[in-house]
Amino acid sequence: MLISVLSGKGGTGKTFISVNLSSVMKNGIYVDCDVEEPNGKLFIKPEHEHQIPVKVIIPKFDYSLCNGCMKCVDFCAFNALAYVEKPILFENICHSCGGCKEVCPQNAITNTYKTVGYVEVGSNDDRIFLGGKLNVGEESGIPIIKKMFKMIGDYPDRDAIIDAPPGTGCPVVETVERSDFCVLVAEPTIFGLENLKMVYELVKILKKPYAVVLNKSLKVGTNPSRIFCEENNIPIIGEIFFDKVIGEKNSNGKIVTEDMPQVQKAFQDILSKVYERVNK
């Protein structure tokens, strides 16, 4: 079973919730899909690590065969090819569709490969760690996310916690589409609420079962995210209050459930509620 942890807004505590859920899960996999800014590794501290490069295709031109017809330049929907005496590729804009190779009447184009990032694989105790990392300057982490989902398939007997990227764009959809359950993490601010509304809409469009965990709640004042959940009958399966000790341990890369039994209990509750909802 794949459980993804989401929030529209960054910094609501996706990684905090993810690493702690994975810590109370037996024989699980933790997957860091926030490939632009991956941080799960700082907490999981995986051992026996190795890296697998993720490659995409880009075109390579044999200029001795090119007759300058410019069909490839005209075809490219992303303007990644320009014609300056011959077709020139802007690598960082290329989406790797392979179209230019198909349209070339001279067979002057072949595919070559470019590394856009890598997947780190390791383990800590009974837990497997998969973490994607996009190279600086690259635009899209989708190929890395796809690669990790393939790798999760290598462990059919294990459940996985998936730390999703922030936002509601294509990397998030890629992650949610493959998940069995979505945990939405929400903060007690209007910023948090606006972004909760967006991921809520997303999980509904993709027809995924979901529930909310309120994070960094304060003991005083109103929580706009809680009010929204109650008004819309969105299940709340846990609430973590803002706490200086938790905040400090977390800021130092500690998994708080490992030495705070009451927090561990809270996360065990959240996980068992997820299982209950999936098995309903």
Binding site: G8, K9, G10, G11, T12, T15, D34, E36, E37, N39, L42, I57, F75, A77, F78, H95, S96, C97, G98, G99, E102, L134, V136, G137, E139, S140, G141, K146, P166, G167, T168, G169, C170, P171, V172, V173, E174, E177, E187, P188, T189, I190, F191, E194, N195, M198, E201, L202, I205, L218, G221, T222, P224, K244, G247, E248, N250, S251, N252, G253
Partner: protein
């Protein structure tokens, strides 16, 4: 127009909190929200004027005419984005995965596929004084970078003065961030003293260097971990990047935002710290222009 971009790498460090305070302190005539996947600047900084809203068409999507489709599945075989599924011998497009390259339409021997314009989001521009450009990406669209470029175009269009514009950036370091960096004069990176914050800071500084964007740093919630704050200062020193100031953790920030105000609208210690960071940032910004 000169552009000051507020960035962070990691989400939730306080980009919008800082940007909304800067807009207020500068009495900015021009500002934009480039976090098109989760825009929030409108919550604190919507002008009292009527906005112009426009649908944004960035990418095309493949459509199949099943009257013509012969089920050869060539499109399914050639699609590099796994955007075509084989459902009982017929191809079905997944519109979230389709990137609009047009390869399937090109190779289809039955002429059953064509590319159709689709709405990838909505831009919203308040065109009086102040001018505020923002946008909202359509759920799951792959056009976020292009939409950011459109927001910046809406912000700049027709402006020839050298006023400073404040731009609230996107989190991460992929296409929307790269698009938001284009043409900026300086970027202020808001970070926080957590190991995650530090790791993301290192990556966003590398990205800024890659695209030759000058930057300075401020540390939000610096007092939640003084050791890590020290580490950040040392790291920035070693790269010759200026740490302009630090902002204390302050519960009043939440209550300001929940009342749709910027932190400098209320009396609080975080607001005081941001005022001083603002002064120094503008000083450095102007120096860099010389």
């Amino acid at each position: 127009m000169r552009q000051l971009l507020i960035l962070s790498g990691k989400g939730g460090t306080g980009k919008t909190t800082v940007a909304s305070a800067f807009i207020k302190l500068l009495n900015a005539k021009y500002y934009a929200d480039c976090d098109v996947e989760a825009p929030n600047l409108d919550i604190t900084s919507t002008p009292n004027t009527k906005p112009k809203s426009e649908d944004y068409y960035g990418l095309k999507i493949a459509h199949i005419n099943y009257d013509n489709c012969v089920g050869c599945m060539k499109c399914f075989e050639k699609c590099n984005f796994d955007a075509i599924k084989n459902v009982n011998g017929k191809p079905v497009i997944n519109e979230f995965s389709c990137e609009g390259c047009g390869l399937c339409a090109y190779i289809c021997p039955a002429n059953a596929i064509h590319m159709e314009e689709c709405v990838n989001g909505e831009t919203l521009t308040y065109d009086a004084n102040p001018r505020f450009a923002t946008a909202k990406l359509r759920m799951g669209s792959g056009a976020s970078g292009k939409l950011v470029s459109k927001v910046k175009e809406n912000l700049r269009s027709g402006i020839i003065t050298d006023d400073i514009a404040i731009i609230d950036g996107a989190p991460g370091l992929g296409c929307p961030v790269i698009a938001s960096m284009s043409g900026v004069d300086m970027s202020l990176i808001v970070t926080e003293p957590t190991l995650s914050g530090i790791s993301d800071l290192e990556r966003i500084i590398a990205a800024a260097a890659f695209f030759e964007v000058k930057c300075a740093v401020c540390i939000n919630k610096y007092d939640i971990n003084l050791e890590n704050t020290k580490k950040i200062k040392k790291y920035c020193d070693s790269l010759g990047i200026k740490v302009i100031g630090t902002i204390p953790f302050d519960e009043k920030v939440n209550s300001a935002i929940n009342n749709r105000m910027s932190v400098v609208d209320i009396d609080c210690k975080a607001g005081e710290a941001i005022k001083s960071i603002f002064k120094d940032t503008i000083k450095i910004f102007n120096e860099k222009e010389k």
